[in-house]
Symmetry: C2
Subunit: 91 residues, 2 copies
Amino acid sequence: MENNTIFVGSKPVMNYVLAVVTQFNEGSDSVVLRARGKAISRAVDAAEIVRNRFVPDSEVTDIQISTEEIENYNHEKTNVSIIEILIEKSA
Amino acid sequence: MENNTIFVGSKPVMNYVLAVVTQFNEGSDSVVLRARGKAISRAVDAAEIVRNRFVPDSEVTDIQISTEEIENYNHEKTNVSIIEILIEKSA
């Protein structure tokens, strides 16, 4: 899942939708949306919007969740959830 | 995915973790966490906490995302994303 990964953060969801559509238009067969914490729901929204409205011949073929340890501003360790959504174009 | 479904909303994440653990303790082999909109990240957190801390012999075996049309308080139709996370106990 290294290549064609789009990191979903706190920008409006359509920024990430556009990034995915651009990847597909440039010839990619697959794109991964990666998000953590509260941005996870935005990554799901982006995947659904791509699939339903912009790239009808694409589908979500894999979704993985995991946990990462991060350090907060107090140098304390805390866990954050990660999602990776693989979107592939049908052949 | 009808049975043993826990609907994740806006309560603290540990409420949903406890609900999953209770289902497993009562003999269920599988539990589905279902959430929509902003609660999606909380469902992912709950699944990760169950798997990593409370039920080590469980794993996430399927994740589905979809879209539902809902009516808001102005009677306007709007789309909301859904996640369903299947957690199964290893045999």
